[in-house]
């Protein structure tokens, strides 16, 4: 299986603190890997490293065949990161946010509309300023922007947070559809019940190191989804 993420003894410092203290892991194409671990374990740092947003001080980090530092510009076009924050402009409507990010990443108008519809951001809701939407609706908008991007590697940090049951179901369907289409997903979550139903593999981080690497107990349901 082709390696999408290939980290070897990767060390990342946040200030002087080693947020990743020598992580070695390989993730293949089409895997949906759930990252778990206590707060401060290094999950967010690992996702940001894979997105090319953080420098490492030791080891190697290759994502989609590109070095995360020297190939960061080329990598940026191929990964999609949704962190704790949504990356939206509060004064713009959901649709205007989608238009801006959609044009930036080269998504067609149809792809943008389909992604918004897949997350349930339609009609008058799409014309409301993001600052006036609920936390869940903002999260859905951010997920729609990510879906329109069609990344090869999805990097998601607590993506279920703030979503209602319908939103969580839509997100799960979106991720299954992405994996079916050949994408790879790396998802940090504390919602282990929800994540377990998606995962092909679970990585456990503790203190900036990989403390566990297990295949999913039950293979997740394949395919299907709103997008």
């Amino acid at each position: 299986m082709e390696a999408v993420v290939d980290l070897h003894d990767a060390v990342v410092l946040l200030g002087r603190f080693p947020a990743l203290a020598g992580v070695t892991v390989t993730i293949g194409a089409g895997e949906l890997v759930v990252l778990r671990g206590p707060n401060g374990a290094g999950k967010t740092t690992l996702l940001r490293l894979c997105a090319g947003l953080l420098p490492r001080v030791r080891g190697s980090a290759t994502v989609l065949g590109l070095d995360t530092e020297h190939g960061a510009r080329a990598l940026a076009r191929r990964v999609g990161l949704l962190g704790h924050r949504n990356g939206l402009y509060e004064d713009l409507t959901a649709r205007e946010n989608m238009r801006f990010w959609g044009r930036a990443i080269g998504a067609s108008r149809d792809e943008q509309n389909a992604a918004l519809a897949a997350l349930g951001i339609e009609g008058r809701l799409a014309e409301v300023a993001v600052g006036r939407l609920s936390a869940g609706q903002r999260r859905r908008t951010a997920l729609a922007v990510l879906a329109a991007r069609r990344p090869e590697l999805w990097l998601l940090d607590e993506p279920h947070t703030g979503l209602d049951t319908d939103g969580r179901d839509r997100l799960d369907g979106l991720l299954r559809a992405a994996v079916t289409a050949g994408a790879t997903v790396l998802l940090a979550s504390h919602d282990l019940d929800r994540a377990a139903g998606l995962a092909t593999r679970t990585l456990t981080l503790v203190g900036g190191r990989v403390a566990g690497d297990e295949p999913a107990a039950v293979p997740p349901a394949k395919g299907g989804g709103p997008c």
Partner: protein
């Protein structure tokens, strides 16, 4: 690069139009500065006329600080800077777009400040040649201020104390603009100088603007990566 610049400038101006911060906060602030100077100088019309150019540019510089904070506030409020880095947009295009949007706002502010100056300070109206110098000076100087503001706005965007740091960084750097623009406007209004004395100052402003625009085009990418 031009596509990215147009996209980002359009987005920034749309945000500004929606939020109305420029109209309801920055403009009243600039006008208040003009009125305060008038009170501080005891309403002496002849003194006010002599110092009109310098006071107007000081009001402009103080307003620039608010404008820069506004330009980068929406980028940092919900993590949009990370999304910009991952969007694949040329950083130089992002710089040009943000600087162009800021320059457009400063130009609009400059025109309204000009009306305020005419009302509060009562300077003599310039002749045709004076108007040419005046308009050229305002356009070149505000473009230079926007370039500097965008560069230092990006530099301080990821810093927790950016609101207090920004004036310390920007005000010393824009000192040449204050001096050159003040001298040029004095000459355009016939205050202690001939009209022909203005052009060397306008030339200095043009060099300053070109230098900081070039610096911004080169440095904006690395600055974004560091924020």
């Amino acid at each position: 690069m031009l596509r990215a610049a147009l996209l980002v400038a359009g987005k920034d101006l749309r945000i500004e139009w929606r939020s109305k911060v420029g109209i309801v906060q920055v403009l009243p602030f600039a006008m208040a500065v003009l009125v305060l100077f008038a009170f501080a100088l005891d309403g002496n019309r002849s003194t006010l006329r002599d110092v009109t150019p310098g006071l107007a540019w000081i009001a402009m510089l103080l307003s620039l600080l608010l404008g820069v904070q506004r330009a980068f506030g929406p980028e940092t409020a919900d993590g949009a800077l990370d999304a910009l880095r991952l969007s694949g947009l040329e950083p130089s295009g992002v710089f040009l777009g943000k600087a162009a949007a800021l320059a457009a706002q400063l130009l609009a502010l400059g025109m309204l400040l000009g009306i305020g100056v005419a009302l509060f300070y009562g300077p003599d109206a310039p002749g045709v040649g004076g108007w040419v110098v005046l308009v050229t000076t305002v356009v070149v100087a505000t473009t230079g201020l926007a370039a500097v503001g965008t560069l230092y706005g990006a530099l301080s965007a990821g810093i927790r104390v950016r609101d207090t740091l920004l004036p310390i960084l920007v005000l010393p750097v824009v000192m040449p603009v204050l001096i050159a623009a003040t001298r040029a406007v004095e000459a355009s209004l016939g205050i202690g100088a001939e009209l022909t004395d203005a052009w060397p100052w306008v030339g200095l402003l043009a060099v300053f603007t070109l230098a900081y625009t070039a610096l911004g085009l080169l440095a904006f990418g690395p600055l974004l990566e560091e924020t």
